[in-house]
């Protein structure tokens, strides 16, 4: 079956612009996660959705970052007024139990 997909694969944007990153999780997976990975670094937790529960937003670095998950499936991560330090690979993962399945990521470059 299809894995986790993310779009776009690459995004170059100018500083100050808003961007939207999309994640399509594996069908039936109740949990969805967003992470950020800077070059050569580990994964920084951003936000976590589990079913109909309120999302865990404790990892969002600023109020410029927001995410939603519509209908318990597709999720969109929005970064407003992008800054150069937002440049990173944004990874999405979904899971049914504990094992997370990752998408290929969106590489965001803010110029």
């Amino acid at each position: 079956g299809a894995g986790v997909s993310q779009s776009p694969s690459n995004k170059v944007t100018e500083k100050g612009k808003d961007v939207e990153l999309r994640c399509d999780p594996i069908s039936g997976h109740t949990a969805l996660y967003w992470y950020r990975q800077s070059l050569g670094q580990g994964l920084e937790f951003l936000i976590y959705f589990q079913g109909n529960s309120a999302p865990d937003k404790s990892g969002l670095p600023s109020d410029r970052f927001s995410a939603e998950r519509t209908g318990g499936s597709v999720s969109t991560l929005t970064i407003q007024r992008t800054q150069q330090e937002d440049s990173a690979v944004y990874l999405c993962a979904s899971s049914l139990y504990l094992e997370q399945y990752f998408g290929p990521g969106t590489r965001l470059t803010v110029t």
Partner: protein, 113 residues
Amino acid sequence: SQQGEEDPQALSIQEGENATMNCSYKTSINNLQWYRQNSGRGLVHLILIRSNEREKHSGRLRVTLDTSKKSSSLLITASRAADTASYFCATNLEKTSYDKVIFGPGTSLSVIP
């Protein structure tokens, strides 16, 4: 500081040798997972060990967990060039959401043919 930290940060070995990576964490966990990330590709789940387990095997992988020392190790036996990747431990904290995990910074493994 990180909840989970891998050690060493980087490791270089010859093909056929064994590779050992360690993960130390600070607070009690429900379970611990290891993931692999090949260059330019996504993360892949390798193995999960629960807090009441001490050792698990999967093919050439062996994971141990010592909750008294708050540490885990990942052993890759008879390494291959294709094992070259970054390896991350991910801990699920005892008093948090059951599914939420914290990733460590990773160990970069190079297997030289």
